[in-house]
């Protein structure tokens, strides 16, 4: 497949568009001009990008859940509950996993089975099946901006329908919704399909409707070092900006070490701004999102609240523009609306108690510098591999393992890099694989992990990684032997 980081020509886009809208019957209800008019008629309280910009200016951290159920009426009830009882500042609509794989027939079956059995049989809201009108019913039921959250490699039809349906923010990207979310799809394909999504966003922007785009930060949510997710976020921001996107939220999943996490969010915003400026995108507003711990959770709800609080603290102290919240049901299953609202309220309490405080650790500057250097190494290598074209470069970079996501299911991912925690719980790199790190950086990681290995009187190995995967679920950060 032939790709490059260039705005999709109007003609080509129009041609693709016809194909996309024909993928499922609901596609025919999408009318761009009508959709733009609809967006323009919406009250400001429902517009995601505006709320983010205001929060950034006010140094406020907004609170947002994940949530989605298959039946529209139930989904509306859920949204209203999270708005009222959860005090959510921003709302989500999480899409089910069949829709994410474009299996709309199975999604249809899931809706029907959910109705028949009177319980959710899908893990999210099948927006394509519900169509434009269904989406608008959701949007109009609340006074809060709503975002589409998913994990869809080819999200073109979903984007068309949900944008026309009045959603004002959209998660995902060609890297972040490929590597963690599929098995066999080549990078070129998802990059291409996400250029379509970004171009559509750009079109809305050009027609006066600013829709927020959010590269998905946490990737596999499991011991992802900041430099990896930062590189993915920055590259997706660049790809989006090229297609005309102007309002971007870059994200990061809490790793667990305070200094590392706070450094990570701060560097993420700084580097995204830096790269956008460097490549000539000067009118993009960048905000940040901290995802509360995305790996395995403790099953006990009281312990889960502890994990939720720790992420809330980091969101506030790092100055993230928003925080995506987990629930006390996380380890077990999709939360009830009550449990979801509990996660939100717990988060709100901590975020607000920390709102007036600042974090100024002596090690922050060094940690930021490490993440900066690492991310530069990876992003710049991708540019180099693409001979200056980042769309080509990122595909080659992933193939080469220059950008390598731990535990990713996708064949496109090299999977040579192995992360594990250091003695203070920061995520470091046990085996750098093909990451294009300088020797200094490699030495830094080796030294950090060696410190832990000595402390634990064992050699660093895959067992250490496994111990770290289980650790938070078992009530620790570092997976020490014999816990």
């Amino acid at each position: 497949m032939d790709i490059q980081n260039k705005r999709i020509p109007d003609e080509e886009f129009a041609r693709l568009r016809q194909e996309v809208l024909a993928q499922w019957p609901t596609g025919k209800d999408v009318d761009l001009q009508e959709a733009v008019d609809y967006h323009k008629s919406m009250p400001e309280e429902r517009i995601f990008s505006k709320k983010l910009v205001a929060a950034k200016a006010a140094h406020k951290t907004l609170v947002q859940p994940r949530a989605g159920v298959p039946v529209i009426e139930e989904h509306i009830k859920l949204m209203q509950y999270l708005e009222k009882e959860g005090e959510a500042d921003l709302l989500p609509t999480t899409i089910d996993s069949y829709t994410r794989q474009n299996r709309y027939e199975e999604a249809e079956n899931g809706i029907n089975e959910s109705l028949r059995l009177d319980r959710a049989m899908l893990n999210g809201f099948p927006a394509v099946n519900h169509g434009v009108a269904g989406c608008r019913r959701v949007i109009e039921s609340v006074h809060t901006p709503v975002q589409v959250r998913h994990g869809t490699p080819d999200a073109r039809l979903l984007t068309e329908i949900t944008y026309a349906g009045g959603f004002t923010s959209y998660e995902g990207g060609g890297i972040s919704y490929n590597l963690p979310y599929c098995k066999n799809i080549p990078m070129e394909r998802t990059i291409r399909d996400w250029q379509y999504v970004d171009r559509l966003t750009g079109l809305y922007e050009e027609m006066g409707v600013s829709i927020n785009r959010e590269p998905y930060g946490p990737l596999t949510g499991t011991l992802v070092p900041p430099c990896i997710s930062h590189s993915a976020a920055i590259i997706e921001a660049l790809l989006a900006a090229e297609q005309g996107v102007k309002n971007i939220t870059v994200g990061y999943g809490q790793c667990g070490n305070l200094v590392q996490d706070i450094a990570a969010i701060r560097v993420l915003e700084e580097l995204t701004d830096e790269y956008l400026a460097k490549y000539g995108y000067n009118d993009v507003v960048v905000t940040t999102v901290l995802h509360q711990w995305m790996g395995g959770f403790p099953a006990d709800e009281a312990k889960a609240f502890g994990v939720i609080s720790s992420g809330s603290l980091i969101a506030a102290l790092s100055g993230a523009t928003k925080v995506i919240v987990k629930s006390p049901h996380e380890a077990v299953g999709i939360p009830t609306m009550e449990a979801n609202a509990q996660g939100l309220r717990c988060t709100k309490q901590v975020v607000n108690m920390m709102a007036d405080q600042t974090f100024n650790d002596v090690r922050l500057a060094q940690e930021m510098e490490i993440i900066r250097q690492e991310t530069h190494c990876i992003v710049d290598k991708c540019f180099e591999l693409g001979n200056g074209d980042i769309a080509i470069g990122v595909c080659r970079g992933v193939e080469a393992g220059a950008l390598d996501v731990p535990f990713a299911p996708c064949r496109a991912n090299a999977g040579l890099m192995l992360p594990c925690r250091d003695n203070e719980g920061a995520v470091r790199i046990l085996n750098t694989g093909n990451l294009p790190f300088t020797q200094d950086l490699k030495d830094f990681h080796a030294a950090k992990i060696n410190e832990r290995a000595q402390f634990e009187h064992r050699a660093a190995s895959f067992q250490m990684v496994i111990d770290d995967v289980y650790a938070i679920g078992k009530g620790r950060l570092v997976g020490r032997p014999r816990y």
């Binding site: 069949y98 899931g110 596999t220 790996g295 099953a299 077990v332 299953g333 999709i334 535990f407």
Partner: protein, 142 residues
Amino acid sequence: MEETKRKKVLVIGVIGADVHAVGNKILYHAFTEAGFEVVNLGVMVSQEEYIAAAIESNADAIVISSLYGQGELDCRGMREKCDEAGLKGIPLLVGGNIVIGKQSFEDVEKRFKAMGFDRVFPPGTPPETTIEALHELLDGKE
């Protein structure tokens, strides 16, 4: 003595449109360490793929993971398809977060047993428990 016996063969994978890869990678590691021969189909495995792999490898059991909640839809008809394919009686195990939300595990177990699964496991079952269950199921048999 033990050493020379044929290793038991397991076909493992994550069913449906599910991409949760972490547990699968760890189970592969743990089963292998525990002395099984493991055919790992990874994530997003269809019923047909499990069955084909089980036939090809002459498997002793199929270990199905489902994390993302839609397992109940994905698992329907699996036993029947096994029967049709000539895998009558092959032990079927399922575990992970196999239904949507926090449900009474008793109910869930009943539902999956009715679907023909031999063993059904609740969220967070550790590999040791899984391996124990496999020994219980397979060690008598030859």
